[in-house]
Structure formats: structure tokens, C-alpha cells
């Protein structure tokens, strides 16, 4: 059952990806809030190796980019990406992994007060983004609060 599910995702992703690339002038952006096909787009863009894990009622697709940063994309049973997390030596490409939420994230960054570096805590309706660590050691997560599965603690998104 599990194996069948994974194979059918790959097939769907492949077909959807083909359709998306044919239909747009620029590569499809993914992934938060997007469907599972957007994960495949992320994988292609990042040139990443992917590993899929099943967890209680959702899947985690872990994409490991060439530089060593791992982006984990959390997919609901209905096939939507409800959370992404990252850790590693390089900052992930936020436009790619936040997808349609990137504009909201970028607008919030412009509100930064001088001065001093500190972790990022963005808590807005419909979007939470946390970013911490330091050079060569970044981590963070972004999620849609209302889409979190029952019982999944935020700390487990990593």
C-alpha cells in the first residue's frame, strides 16, 4: 500500500510537472501550500536527492541539496504541503520553498527594526516563519497553522 502510494505520487508528479512546465514561461514555484507535485519542482530546482518518510497521517519529503542543506516538506494526506523546514550550512531559496507565501514573508522582512541581529519570528494570520542559527548553521521552519495535523507539535517540524 505504502509502495503503491509512493509510486503513484512520482507518476503524478512527473505528469503534473510536465504540464506545468509546458504551461508557464518560468519554472513552477513551490512548495508551501502547494500540492505534492510542487515538491518535485523543488527537487529539480535544488538538484536535490529526496527521501520520503511516512509519519502519523502525513509524509515528509526530505530534499538534500548539493551543499548539504536539507529541506523537509510536509505533505498532508490530501497532498498539500502544510509545512517546510530546513537545516544546514546554506540558507534555502525562500522563493522556491515558500511559493505563493513568499510575498507575505518578504513584506514582513522589510519591517525589521534597527539594529541588531536576532532570530526571525514571523507570526501572521495564515503563516508562521521561524529562522535561526548563524552562518554555516542555519535552521528554520515555515508552516500554515490551520493546516497542521492534529497532534503534530511545531517542534517536530524540522
Amino acid at each position: 500500500m505504502k509502495l503503491f502510494f509512493r509510486r503513484s505520487i512520482s507518476f503524478t508528479a512527473f505528469m503534473t510537472l510536465g504540464i506545468v512546465w509546458a504551461g508557464l514561461s518560468s519554472p513552477a514555484l513551490a512548495a508551501l501550500g502547494g500540492d505534492v507535485a510542487s515538491v518535485a519542482a523543488d527537487q529539480a530546482h535544488m538538484k536535490a536527492n529526496v527521501e520520503v518518510k511516512q509519519a502519523g497521517g502525513y509524509e515528509v519529503h526530505a530534499l538534500r541539496a548539493p551543499g548539504g542543506t536539507v529541506v523537509s516538506e510536509y505533505v498532508s494526506p490530501s497532498g498539500r504541503v502544510f509545512a517546510v523546514a530546513w537545516h544546514g550550512p546554506f540558507f534555502p531559496e525562500m522563493q522556491q520553498i515558500l511559493g505563493s507565501y513568499f510575498q507575505q514573508y518578504s513584506a514582513a522582512l522589510q519591517e525589521r527594526k534597527p539594529y541588531g541581529h536576532r532570530p526571525l519570528n514571523l507570526e501572521q494570520p495564515g503563516l508562521v516563519v521561524q529562522s535561526g542559527g548563524h552562518m554555516r548553521a542555519y535552521y528554520g521552519r515555515a508552516y500554515i497553522p490551520e493546516m497542521l495535523p492534529q497532534g503534530l507539535k511545531v517542534e517536530e517540524i524540522k
Binding site: P89, F90, F91, L109, P114, G116, R118, P119
Partner: protein, 436 residues
């Protein structure tokens, strides 16, 4: 991790004596305040370069130092750059273009032979971008020879989105709050093996670090980290200045006095070398904490903010002089956040009175090495309404699932040692590590 080696002198040394001030021509005005030894650099929490300007801002808990930057091969074509943020959370020297443009520093090329550009991302969404250039750097009486530094472009073009990431470009003094950043953290290079073609695990350069540019834009590129990365090319990556000293090159000690609540300004020392001189020895009470993936462990209010050394997932905790407060998650809600903007205190904690708290830090590679750290948090609105620059009780919230960021308040009243990965250190524990 890395093989240990003892750094010998000078890439491309041109007979430049250790310390600009020994023989030859002395560059204009090396500040001498507080710096009585060759390996001691004066540092100050003084509000930053804009504090005394009309309409300027005070940079709370920013600690700053001055460097002398010379054109490679010259002892007279030099400038003193003051108010570089002393940052143990980053690696390498980054300077506003306006500060060094008169020197005409030569370009450093990436592995593909084109001029190298560097991207530095900060987690609050700010970044700096600019060319890698070669400079001869003097800090107190220690000289680096010619090293790659990042010049922060004042008029950048084609910044790739994998660098900007939707954030704020800190390429002016008023945005950065400093004239540059002196990164003296745990690693010898700002990228390391992942960016070197000899050691990278992929033939594709990682994005977010080094780039080369053409009319059509900038794309990720490899850059050499030299002999330490088994690369016969010279070093092209922005380098930790201290590893390039001929002596005293295995780490730094940040020495700041205690601050009782707040102070107008505070002065201290950045000491170079660990166990190499009489003034940089470990003491019998100093505890060494190794790191995993450049993090260590902290527990607070019954919660663990630990790094898993195998997966490098956490969230891990860390010590960082470039963070200007203690930033941590308060599950017990004993610390109310300050009211939201427009106050300067937004994003800090605002308890009604001084709160005394306690956490425990732990070595992630040796669970028996632990230490209790007591700290206090006071009302940030009250603190920041003064004209003081130093605050030992300034702290702020992070959301659940974020690690403990021991920022500058941690450093007041402690000598904090930072041992650089790959360097020889006088402890059983190999570098990298923090000790205090």
C-alpha cells in the same frame, strides 16, 4: 572533522612585518586605547557609528572594533576602519565599500576564473552582497598577510534571489548599523569544503554563498579554501582573519566586564590566540564545550534546545556576540513580550520588573559536561529609553521550537573563548569549541 595544522605565515607575503607599526611606515592613526599587547584588540560597546550623528540610532549591545586595511603590498595605502561589529557568529571580514574604495583592492577570482562575489545571509532576513577582494589586514599588532575579504557593494546590480531571498540589503551604515563585520567565529572560512571544487560532494556549486556574474546575471560558483581543503589553488573564500596570523591563530577570547543592568558604554578586549601567550590561557574554572554542527545544548524551563550530532537537526543553541540580546523560548510565559512596533523595544521581553532565571548548557558530544547559567531579563522598553548602549538584561522571544541564542549579554562578566575548527588547541577536546 578537519585535520589539524599549524598555520604558518602569509599567503603572498610581501615582506610585510607583523604589525604595521614595527619598522617601515606606520599607517595613519592606529588607535591605541586599551590595546597594550600585540594580541589584544580594543573592543567597545558604544552605540555604534551612528550613535553620535544627528538623527542617528544607538545600536544596543553592538560590540565594535577597528581594523587597519591596506592594499596588498603597501604599507602606506591604508585606512583605519572603525566600528566593525565583532561577531563570533560569523566568519570573515566584511566592509562597506565606502570605507575601502580609496584603496583600490584587487579582485579575487572564483575557481572558474571570474571575479568572485560573496553572499552573506542573516537569519533576520538581512543580507550583504559584494565582491571578494584581497586586503592586508592588521588587528592590534597582528597581521594577516593578504586575505580575501568581502566588500559590501554600495551600488549592487544583479543580486541573485538566492542571496536576497526577499530580505533587506544592509549595504549602508544606516542599515547595517556598522561599517562592517569582523567575523571571528568557529570556522576558518565562511563556506568551507562545500564551496571548494576539490571537496564539494557535488559538481554543482551550492547557492547562497559564492557567485560569478555576467551580463545575464550571477550564478553560484566554487571558490577555493586552499590547502586545508586539499586545493592547490590559493584561498579564494572569505577567511577568518585570525587563522592567517603567523602566531596566536587558533582562536579568540572576548573579554567584557560585568554590566549591572545597563551602562552608557563598555570597553573590553578581543584577545587573539588560546594558550599561546601569558594573556590568553585557560583557567582552572574554564569549562570547554565542544559543538556539533556548530551548535551546543541548552535546557530552560524543562525544555531542551539541543542539537543532534548525527542528523544536525535541533534546534541547537549557540553563543553569538553578533546577537544583541538573549533570545529564547519561554514556555512558562514568565516574560511578556513588549508591545508591538513602533517602539524600539518591539521583539524584546518586557517584564514589569527584573526577572532572575536559570538555564543549563551542555556539551552535545559529552553529556556529562554541563554548566548552570544564571541570567536576568529586564523591561526592554525601560532599558532602551535610555541613551545607554550596553544592556546585560536585554532579552527577547523566539517561538516554540527555536534554539537558545546566547547573545552579547552572555559575554558581560565572562571571558568567552572561541576555538577555531582545524586549529591546534591546548585542550583534550579538539576544536571547534566554546569555553567560558
Amino acid at each position: 572533522m578537519r585535520k589539524k595544522y599549524l598555520v604558518l605565515i602569509l599567503l603572498g607575503g610581501l615582506g610585510f612585518a607583523v604589525g604595521c607599526s614595527s619598522g617601515g611606515t606606520t599607517p595613519a592613526g592606529i588607535p591605541s586605547g586599551g590595546s597594550t599587547s600585540a594580541n589584544v584588540l580594543a573592543i567597545a560597546v558604544d552605540g555604534g557609528p551612528t550613535a553620535n550623528q544627528t538623527g542617528g540610532f544607538i545600536y544596543p549591545n553592538g560590540v565594535f572594533a577597528t581594523a587597519t586595511i591596506c592594499h596588498p603590498g603597501s604599507s602606506s595605502n591604508c585606512v583605519n576602519v572603525d566600528h566593525l561589529l565583532v561577531d563570533t557568529g560569523s566568519v570573515g571580514l566584511r566592509i562597506l565599500q565606502s570605507e575601502v574604495s580609496s584603496l583600490g583592492l584587487p579582485t579575487v577570482n572564483a575557481s572558474n576564473g571570474s571575479a568572485a562575489y560573496d553572499c552573506t545571509s542573516f537569519v533576520d532576513g538581512s543580507y550583504v552582497w559584494g565582491p571578494v577582494e584581497s586586503a592586508n589586514v592588521t588587528l592590534a599588532g597582528e597581521n594577516t598577510g593578504n586575505i580575501p575579504i568581502q566588500v559590501i557593494s554600495s551600488s549592487p546590480a544583479n543580486i541573485p534571489t538566492s542571496c536576497s531571498n526577499g530580505g533587506v540589503n544592509d549595504n549602508t551604515q544606516s542599515s547595517l548599523g556598522a561599517n562592517g563585520i569582523l567575523g571571528v567565529g568557529l570556522e576558518p572560512f565562511d563556506c568551507g569544503e562545500a564551496c571548494d571544487p576539490s571537496t564539494a560532494e557535488s559538481s554543482i556549486p551550492p547557492s547562497g554563498a559564492y557567485y560569478t556574474c555576467s551580463n545575464s546575471g550571477c550564478t553560484p560558483a566554487f571558490a577555493s579554501c586552499g590547502a586545508e581543503c586539499n586545493d592547490s589553488s590559493s584561498v579564494q573564500q572569505v577567511t577568518h582573519p585570525v587563522v592567517m596570523f603567523p602566531l596566536d591563530n587558533n582562536g579568540v577570547i572576548v573579554e567584557l566586564p560585568s554590566v549591572s543592568g545597563s551602562a552608557a558604554t563598555v570597553t573590553g578586549s578581543l584577545v587573539f590566540g588560546i594558550g599561546t601567550e601569558t594573556n590568553n590561557q585557560l583557567t582552572s574554572t574554564t569549562n570547554v564545550f565542544t559543538v556539533a554542527c556548530d551548535f551546543f545544548n541548552t535546557s530552560f524551563e524543562g525544555q531542551a534546545f539541543n542539537i543532534d550530532p548525527n542528523s544536525c537537526t535541533g534546534p541547537g543553541s549557540f553563543i553569538d556576540s553578533g546577537s544583541n540580546g538573549l533570545f529564547f523560548y519561554d514556555v512558562n510565559n514568565v516574560l511578556p513580550p513588549c508591545p508591538a512596533s513602533p517602539t524600539a523595544a518591539a521583539a524584546f521581553y518586557c517584564p514589569s520588573s527584573l526577572m532572575s532565571l536559570s538555564a543549563t548548557v551542555q556539551d552535545p558530544n559529552n553529556s556529562s559536561i554541563t554548566e548552570v547559567v544564571n541570567f536576568s531579563i529586564n523591561n526592554a522598553q525601560t532599558l532602551l529609553s535610555s541613551t545607554n548602549a550596553a544592556f546585560s538584561t536585554l532579552g527577547g522571544p523566539v517561538l516554540a521550537g527555536q534554539g537558545f541564542d546566547w547573545g552579547l549579554p552572555f559575554f558581560y562578566g565572562r571571558n568567552v573563548y572561541v576555538a577555531i575548527d582545524g586549529q591546534t588547541v591546548p585542550t583534550p577536546a579538539p576544536s571547534p569549541w566554546w569555553a567560558f
